[in-house]
Structures are given as C-alpha cells and as structure tokens.
C-alpha cells in the first residue's frame, strides 16, 4: 500500500502544485497548503476506490482542501503558519517549495470565487467538461455555463 501511494503521488504531484498555485499567493502559504493536501490524500487513500482515475481523485481531494482552507481563513480562524512549524523544527531546504507565481494570472483570478478558481484551473488544464463535472461534482451543463461566465470575466480583466 505504501509503495502504491508513493508512486501515485510521485506521478501526479503536479496536480498538488497546480492547486497551490491557483489558491495561494506566496511560497509560505503554498507550502502549508501542499502539506495539508498531502495529509488529506494520505488520510483519504484507504477509501479511494480504484474505479476512478487517480488524477481525478487527487484533483477532488486537493481542491476540497484548498477551498475549505480558504473558507476557514475568510472566517478569520487563525491558522498555524508554516513559520511556526519552522520554528519548532529546522526547515529542510529540500522540502521548501519555489513555486513561480504568475502575476497576471494572480490579478486575473483575484476576483474569482473559490469554486470558480477550481473551474478555471481545470479549464486551463484542458480537462473536458465531463471530467470537470466529475471532479467538482456538478452537471456538465452547469460547467459549460459557469466556464463561459468565467471566460467573459477574464476577458475583461486581461484585456491587452
């Protein structure tokens, strides 16, 4: 089980990084979310039914984690920052993330809601509407409507 889990994470860890990139604005925040998602995946692994694709499952768990984290932070619940963790255990440089945040993308998504960010991320990843619907647990038609709305919003934001 251990090997299987490690392999799955190793193959698809890009998904976690993408979620971090979409939902965080700096590396410290991203490291914290990266850890939270890893733990959530670890906890959810025994319940993962192999009938779904691993990537779909990872997107689902990762996005759930990111969205609920954002919700908690908006409720002003103080979170233990990663700096605090680093105070107690010397940081291992190899563990540190160095995510390149795209400023234009950050500006464009700033006004998007939590759920819309997930939709945009999957759209940018060229997922089909069916896959997006499966990951987010909504209908395909709903995905289409929402994506069109997001596209319009973004076009306004990223006018050349």
């Amino acid at each position: 089980m251990k090997e299987e889990f490690l392999q799955a994470i190793d193959e698809h860890q890009g998904i976690i990084l993408k979620v971090c990139r979409m939902y965080c604005s700096d590396n410290s925040d991203a490291e914290d979310l990266y850890q939270d998602i890893l733990l959530a995946l670890w906890k959810a692994w025994p319940k993962f039914r192999r009938d779904a694709k691993i990537s779909t499952w990872m997107y689902r768990v990762g996005l759930n984690q990111a969205i609920s984290r954002l919700r908690n932070s908006k409720r002003n619940v103080p979170r233990e920052s990663l700096n605090f963790v680093h105070d107690t255990i010397p940081a291992n440089e190899q563990n540190r993330l160095d995510i390149q945040f795209d400023k234009e993308l950050q500006t464009a998504i700033a006004a998007l809601g939590r759920f819309d960010r997930a939709l945009l991320m999957l759209y940018l990843d060229e997922k089909t509407y069916r896959e997006i619907a499966e990951i987010l647990g909504v209908s395909e038609s709903n995905v289409g409507v929402k994506i069109n709305r997001i596209k319009k919003q973004l076009k306004e934001k990223i006018k050349p």
Binding site: M1, K2, F5, L6, I9, D10, Q13, G14, L17, K18, R21, Q35, L38, L39, W42, K43, W45, P46, E80, F84, V85, D87, T88, I89, N92, Q94, N95, L97, D98, I99, Q100, D102, E104, L105, A108, Y123, L124, D125, E126, K151, L154, K155, I158, P160
Partner: protein, 214 residues
C-alpha cells in the same frame, strides 16, 4: 494577453513548477512530524500564556491590594497597608506562585520534538503525557480552590472576623458560588483544550495504525 495565451502560459509554467519542486515522497513522514510538532508547540505556547496571565494577575494584585480599603471606601481616602491586608496578600501570592511554579514546571518539561525514528511511539507517549497532565492540572486547580477556601476561613477566625464554620453568611455563600462558577468555567475550558489536542494527535496516530509506518 488573450485567454489562449493564458492557458498556454499556465501549462508551460506548471511543467516548470513540477521540475523545480519535484518532492521526494519519502518526506511525507517529515511533514507529519512537522504537523505533530506544531501541535505540541501550540500546547507549550498555551502554558506560556497561562504563566503570563497569572504573573500579570499577581502583579496587579500586589499593586491594587494596598489600596483596596481606599477603593472600597472602608478607610476613607487614605492609603493604609494593614496587617490583615498584608496577610491576605501574602497568602494569595503564595498560592498564586504555587500555580505559576506548576505551569512553569509543565512548560519547561514539555518536549515538542518528535523523534525521527519512531513517530508512532512518540505520538502514543505524547497522548499519555497529555492525559496525565490534564489529571495533574485538574487536581491542582481543585486543590488550590479548596485551599483558598480553608485558608480564607481560617484567617477570618484568626483575625477575629468570624468563626471558621460560619459559612452560611450571605457574603461567604456569594463569593463561594462565584468561585465555584469560575472554577467550573476554567475546568471546562482546560478539558476542552486538552481534548482537542489529544484528538488531533490521535488522528495522526490512527493514520499510522491504518497504513503502517511510512
């Protein structure tokens, strides 16, 4: 920038980010250890907070108590440190310092480090230690409360302010009731805090037991 350009950049930069941040999954255990350690660190910080509050409380008591008679209007607008007042102050400070010392012992003895070798055993030890610590704390709090009551009554009798057994006076019953309420409030707060830490550590432990040690 067009939407298609944004998509292309997203994908290109995602690839780049994966290359830069490709993590070894062997570090998963390190992550769990960090989370555990941060929980333990949080408990230790709480002890520090309690000590600070107690010290401020004691200091305020030292400053305010000589003026109590003045504030209560018993002695008129004159500062006077009476023997009775001094006696009460010293008694209160002694009990307060015992509580401070108890928390200081807990704070200094609390180890937040989680051993690299066996996280499971460390978690089990920490959970046991927390349960023991809760028992100690409850015993001390209740003990201090009973002591304050007994010393209060004994000093009243010694200073000629009423008999030791004379506890059915309105003022004594009122202060006893208020004290019991504060005691219950504090106990509930501490039990809740301990239980939440214990639950968090038990969750981590359950993960190990579910899947075997990583």
């Amino acid at each position: 920038m067009e939407l298609d350009e944004l998509k292309a950049r997203w994908q290109q930069e995602s690839e780049k980010n994966i290359d830069i941040n490709n993590q070894s999954m062997e570090q998963l255990e390190t992550i769990l250890r960090q989370k555990t350690s941060s929980t333990l660190g949080h408990i230790k910080e709480k002890y520090k907070g309690i000590i600070s509050y107690l010290m401020v409380g004691l200091l305020l008591n030292i400053i305010v108590s000589p003026f109590l008679h003045f504030l209560l209007g018993d002695e008129g607008p004159v500062f006077r440190l009476t023997f009775n007042g001094l006696f009460a102050l010293v008694t209160f400070l002694t009990l307060g310092l015992i509580v401070v010392f108890f928390y200081w012992l807990k704070y200094s003895a609390f180890n937040t480090e989680v051993a690299d070798t066996d996280v499971r055993t460390t978690l089990e030890q920490k959970i046991r230690a927390l349960r023991r610590s809760l028992r100690h704390e409850l015993t001390l709090i209740i003990g201090i409360f009973i002591s304050i009551f007994i010393i209060g009554r004994a000093s009243s009798q010694y200073l000629g302010n009423g008999s030791f057994s004379d506890i059915f006076r309105k003022d004594i019953l009122l202060s006893l009731g208020a004290g019991v309420l504060i005691l219950i409030f504090y106990i509930v707060k501490r039990v809740k805090a301990y239980n939440s830490y214990i639950r968090k550590l038990e969750e981590y432990l359950a993960e190990f037991e579910d899947k075997g040690s990583f």
